[in-house]
Symmetry: C3
Subunit: 165 residues, 3 copies
């Protein structure tokens, strides 16, 4: 099997680097490290959390829509002020990280996400499931999202959801 | 830690290539790209979706049993004609991709799968969980399943299940 | 994109080796291969399964607490004698494997785990979700856990839980 990966090694290495980037992002959210979160994005990033229904219909209505890194910072600030009324833990599970295209220095990629929520006095449950659809650029500081659309499959989401996905 | 992977690099590269193959397969199903699906298999493949109970008892009774790539194509055609009565989204989560043996050009491998289903007016739920048990060959077009058994742990599956896993 | 991974290759290879190690561990538990399980640990390992609440408060109270490899062996022996009253399947899903620090030959690492349980006459459900917090050493036989804390988010766990996580 020493030759299994031989013809594809650079692509496999790229995909491994991408998987690491996705998992660092997820770990940042699980740790609620909101100070570090904006660093995953470019200055003029587009970041949104949108239902599959609206996404597929080409609609813009989305629970979270940020058209710059500064808007993400504002959003997180508001979130901090609103505070969380109850202790809870979120865990991200990422699978299927794939490079779907390349345009110059940009990379198009996607992955599945599953977020499991644990609340007091309740069993853990699936909070959200869906896909990341991304454009990623390589900067001198490492990979950054030029665009990240978190497209969730849930029919509805609880209105208290204000956190990034 | 620069030497952590040093003695095992070829095996790690193989496993990474295998993980990518598994995730491409899963993404194909999540996208309902049934035209591309048969290309993951050899012509004389064995593809089945079978309960753990029957698999462990050596029984052949399985909701899906295809003894060739052509049978998979037929199965998908029937599926297309039956159509899906309601919109839904499926997401695969693959974990634990492992090479369990080698026989000449063949690779024995396995992984865990979790499929989360989102239906209209319902919260997402676990549709199916289990293991892939596989024999994989390297062809000039890339890796292909010579055998894929999808062994699910579910006690029962809803009878409407006709799609590949 | 041929240069995406170029500056980080050794780190990526280490992380891939680590991911493989984590997945071998999970596969061992899913297969209920309790004879092989202690081999993932050093002789003077610390292995515990503890709630997030107690862990964050610095408390020691934990459903499983083993301060050596020998204690793990004892624990598994007791488990074997107690036997399992009903057939069930467990599947681990590991995501977010990350190296968080290094101290000499030791590696600090973490990952998320999700365990899905399938019982007779029931639909599969999330049994446990949480984080692995680990210290790992490289030995002549491969990687080993010098410390593994399985920190679960669940508010409560069913009292019948006696198995390793």
């Amino acid at each position: 099997m020493g030759t299994l990966a031989s013809t594809a090694t650079p692509a496999i290495a790229d995909r491994a680097a991408l998987r690491d980037f996705y998992e660092d992002y997820a770990a940042c959210l699980d740790a609620e490290d909101f100070a570090a979160f904006p660093d995953f994005f470019t200055d003029d990033t587009l970041y949104q959390v949108i239902s599959r229904e609206n996404h597929d219909a080409g609609l813009r209505h989305a629970p979270i829509y940020c058209s710059s890194r500064a808007m993400i910072v504002d959003r997180l600030m508001a979130l901090k002020e609103a505070a969380l009324y109850q202790p809870r833990s979120l865990r991200h599970f990422i699978s299927g990280v794939r490079i779907t295209g390349e345009e110059g220095a940009e990379l198009h990629a996607q992955a599945n996400f599953l977020i499991v929520e644990s609340l007091l006095e309740q069993d853990p449950q699936v909070l959200m499931v869906g896909r990341y659809l991304d454009r990623i650029v390589r900067t001198t500081e490492g990979l950054r999202f030029a665009e990240r659309s978190c497209v969730y499959d849930n029919y509805r989401i609880r209105t208290t959801l204000v956190i990034p996905v």
